[in-house]
Chain length 130, copies 2
Amino acid sequence: MPSLKMEYNSEACTRSIIAVRDTLYVLSGKWKLPIIIALSGGPIRFKDLQRLLQDITPKILSKELKELELNEFVTRTVYATSPVTVEYAPTKYSESLNNIIGEMRTWGLQHRKRIMNSSRRSKKRALADA
Amino acid sequence: MPSLKMEYNSEACTRSIIAVRDTLYVLSGKWKLPIIIALSGGPIRFKDLQRLLQDITPKILSKELKELELNEFVTRTVYATSPVTVEYAPTKYSESLNNIIGEMRTWGLQHRKRIMNSSRRSKKRALADA
DNA sequence: GATACTACTATCCAAAAGGATACTGGTCCC
DNA sequence: GGGACCAGTATCCTTTTGGATAGTAGTATC
């Protein structure tokens, strides 16, 4: 027997879910946020970006950068130097993600401490590395 | 020629990336955040949760709930009623995600407006639905 | 002219994620 | 005792994701 209040809440809840799903959608995958963070220091070249991200392969990096360009989070500029250099830079719009990234960073730090201090035998499913 | 400043920044950047990756790791997939949001209204039963989330299949819902339990975001309580009822409830720890969820919700709302108002032909890769 | 570096692309493959469909075991309702 | 509802499981399959490995075109270096 759903009350009016329930009705209202469930609609508000659905709206929240849709909004969060939209966000998840454009930020999907393992690499988009790390790439945006890596770019936040300013323009950077493909190879340097790859180095900064440690274990990303060029294929994946290339694919992710294209999607980020499509969504207007990064720009790609080719300089006619010899060997041509290509620089990727964050857009103004990418800064709108700063709050999300900040909160995720804070939460991640806190979570890692919590897991490390806990008596769990297994840290599987709790931290990104081994 | 990396300056000392560059060195520092790249380490800070790496730390941010690790923290964000930890967060992404436990919240991975399409459903975990939506489920947590759906639970935020209080205890709810399996079938009602499934209804609230619209198009999730019981297999996926069951799997996600198990992972959320492992990470201490939800509790599962069985009541010895007849037909047994099972209630899923958010834990205190799940509230620590409120800031992240709030920011993602705000960003998602803003992003959808932006895309809808833009003259892009294609909204592919920009919004979660068709 | 051999080697090296940059910015990728191409091919192939494995694993994970997600979903469709069907089913089970229990209980209630009539 | 036939149908319905609940809380899932079981099986199968497709798609997506991510990665390993190799290669290319162009230039610069020694």
